[in-house]
Amino acid sequence: MLSLGGGGAKSSKPSFVSYITPEEIKSEKEPPKKERHPNLLPGEVVFCSADPILKHTQDDVSQRGIFGTLLCTNFRVSFVSDETPLEETGSNLGDLISLQMLFCFVVYDEKRKMITGGMLKNKYPSKMIIHCKDLRVFQFCLTFTKEEDARKIFHGIAHHCLEPKSLKCVFAFSYAVSRSPEMQRSQRTVMFDSKEDWAQEMKRTKGNCRIVTENEGFKLSTRLPKYFIIPSSVTDEDLFKFQGKGLPIWCWSHHSGCALFKASTLPVPQEDGVIQRYMERMLDAAAQTHLYSLKIEDLSETLPTVQDIQQSYAKFKQFFLIDNSTDFWVSDVKWFSSVENTGWMDIIRKCLQKAVEVVECLEKENTNILIMEEEGTDLCCVISSLVQIMLDPHYRTLTGFQGLVQKEWVAGCHAFLDRCNHLCQKDKESPSPIFLLFLECVWQLVQQHSPAFQFSETYLTVLSDSVHVPVFSTFLFNSAYQRESTLKAESQHPQRGPLNCPAVWDWSVQFDCKAQELFLNPLYADKLKQDKVLRKVPRPKHQRQLSLPSSAFKTPPKKGFFKDETESLKKMLRVKRISRWMASPDSPAANTREFYEAWQRRPLDHHGLLLPWLDGPAVRLWMQRYLRWIPEVQILGGGPVAVTNKMAELLVQVQELRKKLDLKGCWQPEAERVQLQPRPLALARNSLRLSSAFPFASSRNWTFKPVIPTSLLQSLMLTDKLASQEDETTEVISLV
């Protein structure tokens, strides 16, 4: 099993070491061996190693380091400490540096040089600074080791982490070949790789579209899923016309009957009008799904481009890759404006805003909606997934959410390989953290509406890290076609079927059960209770469901209205490339305000519609993900974990009491069974020992010392008159 972490010793159980208390680590350790190497994974090969290397420990005030061996394998860069396990700081995830590094800095004689690959000098590096994609920073001093070793390890790391490589070289394949197949666990996540999964999903949402099976061999398009769903009235002829481009791909159906579609855009229409007519038929087909209504959102017109997102994130993440305390406090001064200037928070806000507009369309106007974009696999995925999370409580459960990622992103052919740049290509155009952006948006929803989500922010953070762990097939490919063909080609025994690469959802590959319990949100308000409540008092929304959809009354009640409107708009389309069809004249923010207010007036239902708050202070920084490795911001004995712990503890007590009652035979077991969640464990009874970075960075080696700003003086130099004014201007003898 894949043990992420755990330096130096064999361990039989999988562990996410940062979750384990020091006692457990001690017991796992074996006496130090002569040859130190991490517990290698199946298929993992050590390329080179060097010792002694001094690893600077950020969390140590005295700036002392730890000596050990630095290794570079085909999977990771790993540092194994020489010291006894007791004093070992590197025994948390810090030991493991997955090969997905951002950059490697090398210090030659105090001058820092950024290495991005292809620019290695044959000089003797004294220090190596590694920035990881999960925002950890490591500093290694190479001066204690032999010059040749130092150069070798440095070149080895730079070569394997930063140089372009081919897909075949990704560790996942050698891992999948070598690992024992019985490790595959049964999964409850719907993978959307079979016709049944799609049929089931359409049934669940009561959609009335048709499943396309013509792409089973990817004859129709290599950029489309094996199976997908389109409006029923699209003809077979049209299906094959433009390799699936412009097809309205069904995402989800609202209970009113209207549906959400996504599509890629077709090239600019030529003179003959073939494309226009094809597009009209497509739009007609989508509109016919419900009441002949359709709204088109061209996401490329209103949202930032894929490159904008990449640039913004590149700036943003710099603020979290902190090498030393001085830099930290210097950047603390202009923190808010620095974060704002990267534009990252604004991009998050824009995506959520767009999703709200789409939600409004479905929920309030009961109009079909088609979101479009160049490829239809980037922002379309972000928006369609967010819309579904806001509207459908199923996607707020852990397995539901994983199913959604499968449906919209994995089966939906988001180009993970290119966007995450797993192969370190030098192409500046394609890498972009689109999936991370989606997780960011989900995190905003989670922090604003915590009881509505079954999963925790820790789950989201771990998921965002797992994107870069090259072990899983989930985030490794650009399309379903590429996945299938590559896994087939890489298979050692073609007759036995394609290579069996684990999905990231098989969390037991990375974490033991105890650690996985941290994925669950103890604040989650279970469905059952809500059901009971709702049954008592019917809510307006439900009443509306019984009657005709409200939109039928709102706009002119003529039945042919939509038809007419469509006709006239079609004419417009011939002039301009597809623009927004039923675009509202008002500004979007003012438009959604009314919708917000109506929603706000309704009692809060964690299993109903969720809308994010988008005003300035409501969109916040994902502290856990971005600040977890920075020692200066750790709060010892504090942070959200203090609350989670208490909640979990209480939950356990309640469950124990219930069990007690159960034993006494006075319980109605059949009614209760359904709702028993996996039992959350009280993790650490003494939360005083945990820091706010829990469960990521262990705090036990941090000295119990406050972090005092070093740059207080430069922080607030006020020059105005007030600062020099006397405190007491007048002596007022006062009162009554």
């Binding site: 404006s337 509406h449 706000q600 202070p617 502290m623 009614a671 709702q675 706010s692 207080l712 006020l718």
Partner: protein, 637 residues
């Protein structure tokens, strides 16, 4: 009947299952966060926009203004005027017509058009300034702006009364909003509500010093200030080193600004390191020295055997400390004070803080500019000031806890920044001050008895809104405490509602707690006799203010992170008037539900056990299912 203005306690509106699913909007629970952890489903932008005092007990009388709109008044509250057909121009909902009622305590606006009606109910004490717009308008409209101390502005328009002799509601309002300027007494002196708990008994200085093990062999309680002769802004009981005589103290008083001599605030129970507070030394340009003052500091150092050093924390930026020399003040020179190390904490003065809050109000009220929110927030420097104050307190706490060194804290006069720093470092060091009553004692001690000039800083009942002595120093302190509660959600016994209530009562002039500038004045005004303490209110409905997540760790020192990355704007206080700022459903809510569930289950287990025991004794009974009669517990875990 409007539930928003009735006198029910907030506790009576625990969100029940009914309120969870009720689609009718209840107005009473929408006093934004002032209502405390109310479930957000009841949020409604049209509901009342006011922090209401919910005082237990029956309303003294009901004022009937139009047959159906009842105003429930506090004891001794008298309606002064009612303005019919007044327009309230709400920045969020637009112009609203209604009636405006002014009593000697509150302003009450009740909308007539909308359903549910808008209710605005605020103590007149929160009004800092009334501006008439357009002067004597020919059209006979009176339009005016109310600037409030609690981060909002209100605008009203109404017709000039036809009868020119009759005063308009506007004039009545101006009169009662500023009683001190109009030779009226503050409402606190009228109000005579009787509470089950007497808040004036919360703090007994001698008992608090006894808790700290004082007096002991190194420290004594001096009576030198019994009649406030040594220092009129200090309390009567002062703790000083045993080796210093009262005569020496008198000479020290001459050397320290306003006679505020170094006295003990807190003593570490183990290391005997002390937190000492005072004002700046009057060393002046010439660098005057005072031998008794030097001896006193030496004695403070000697009282702590663990350290041969003492730290003097000067809260000011060093430039300001130097500038003070021109006016006779200054700071301790390390030449004169051996073994002392002087540290400047760079916290700015009251004027800078006032300006910062003014900017903050501009940024958050009424509208928030979405795309520039963060840089606008940064430009107010508010959180930067919070950071510096917290950082200063952290350094003090660290020196005392890890360095086992005694510290002396002062600013210029030692009643603003010094109070912030000592009280915050005490909260970090001593878990007692994180309990509800401990926190009350801390405020009574470090703020009220040591002469934080509440009257001047808040300007109770005074219409001179440009008074440069006003400054949000106490608000800033409460904000710092709130920041710590955010970082340590289980370390404080009180909740956010408690802190907001304190701030609301700071301005309301309903209670005597925050009146006057010093203990001497309070004694003279007989506040204990003539007014009610805010702690009477708090301690009579304690369950409302308690944090269910609280865990008591006796000897746990809190070391908060002071990085601006961890500081947040206190949205549920500063932006609570904005209906778009819907508060998150607090975790506490869910936790309380679970607690209730646990209690319920526990009860049932016990019941069953009792039943089993009973049945065992009366074995003749047939064992029927004991549960038939009991309704199954609805579970949601």
């Amino acid at each position: 009947m409007d539930p928003g203005s009735n006198g029910e306690s907030p506790g009576s509106r625990q969100p029940s299952l009914d309120s969870l699913c009720s689609s009718s909007t209840s107005r009473s629970d929408r006093s934004f966060q002032t209502k405390g952890p109310s479930i957000s489903s009841e949020q409604n932008s049209n509901s009342d926009l006011s922090p209401q005092l919910r005082v237990k007990g029956k309303p003294a009388k009901t004022f009937r203004d139009s047959g159906k709109d009842d105003v429930e008044l506090l004891p001794k509250e008298v309606v002064q005027d009612v303005g019919k057909d007044v327009t309230y121009i709400c920045p969020f909902l637009g112009a609203l017509r209604g009636t405006l009622t002014v009593t000697n305590y509150r302003l009450l606006f009740r909308g007539i058009n909308r359903e549910p009606g808008v209710v605005l109910d605020l103590p007149l004490g929160v009004i800092s300034r009334v501006d008439k717009i357009g002067g004597a308008s020919s059209r006979g409209d009176v339009s005016y702006h109310l600037f409030c101390k609690d981060m909002r502005n209100l605008r009203f328009v109404h017709k000039q009364p036809d009868d020119s002799l009759k005063k308009s509601v506007f004039e009545v309002l101006t009169k009662f909003a500023f009683p001190v300027s109009n030779n009226l007494s503050l409402f606190a002196f009228e109000y005579n509500q009787v509470f089950p708990e007497n808040g004036w008994k919360v703090y007994d200085p001698l008992a608090e010093y006894r808790r700290q093990g004082l007096p002991n062999e190194s420290w004594r309680i001096s009576k030198v200030n019994d009649h406030y002769e040594l220092c009129d802004s200090y309390p009567a009981a002062l703790v000083v080193p045993v080796t210093i005589t009262d005569d020496e103290l008198r000479r020290v008083a001459a050397f320290r600004a306003k006679g505020r001599i170094p006295v003990l605030s807190w003593l570490h129970p183990e290391s005997q390191a002390a937190v000492v507070r005072c004002s700046q030394p009057m060393s002046g340009v010439s660098g005057k020295r005072c031998k008794e003052d030097e001896k006193l500091l030496q004695a403070i150092m000697d009282a702590n055997a663990q350290s041969h050093k003492i730290f003097i924390f000067d809260a000011r930026p060093s430039v300001n400390a130097a500038a003070n020399k021109m006016k006779g003040g200054g700071c301790e020179s390390e030449d004169a004070y051996q073994n002392a190390e002087l540290v400047f904490l760079d916290i700015h003065n009251i004027h800078v803080m006032r300006e910062s809050l003014r900017k903050l109000k501009e940024v958050v009220y009424p509208n928030i500019e979405e795309s520039h929110w963060l840089s606008n927030l940064e430009s107010t420097h508010w959180l930067e000031h919070i950071k510096l104050i917290l950082a200063g307190a952290l350094r003090i706490a660290d020196k005392v806890e890890s360095g086992k060194t005694s510290v002396v804290v002062h600013c210029s006069d030692g009643w603003d920044r010094t109070a912030q720093l000592t009280s915050l470092s005490l909260i970090m060091l001593d878990s007692h001050y994180r309990t509800v009553t401990g926190f009350q004692k801390l405020i009574e001690k470090e703020w009220i008895s040591f002469g934080h000039r509440f009257q001047q800083r808040v300007g109770h009942g005074d219409q001179n809104h440009t008074d440069a002595d006003r400054s949000p120093i106490f608000l800033q302190f409460i904000d710092c405490v709130w920041q710590m509660t955010q970082q340590f959600p289980a370390a404080f016994e009180f909740n956010e509602y408690f802190l907001i209530t304190l701030l609301d009562q700071l301005y309301s002039c309903l209670f005597g707690t925050f009146l006057c500038n010093s203990e001497q004045q309070r004694v003279k005004e007989e506040l204990v006799k003539r007014t009610v303490s805010v702690w009477s209110l708090v301690n009579s409905q304690l369950e409302e203010f308690v944090n269910p997540l609280y865990v008591h760790y006796p000897a746990h020192v809190l070391l908060p992170s002071v990085s601006i990355r961890h500081l947040q704007l206190w949205v549920s206080y500063y932006i609570r008037w904005n209906p778009r700022m819907r508060p998150q459903e607090p975790v506490h809510q869910r936790y309380k539900e679970l607690l209730a569930k646990r209690a319920e289950l526990q009860k049932r287990v016990e019941e069953l056990q009792r039943e089993v025991a009973n049945r065992a004794s009366t074995s003749s009974e047939r064992a029927g299912s004991p549960t038939r009669s009991i309704t199954p517990v609805q579970t949601f875990v």
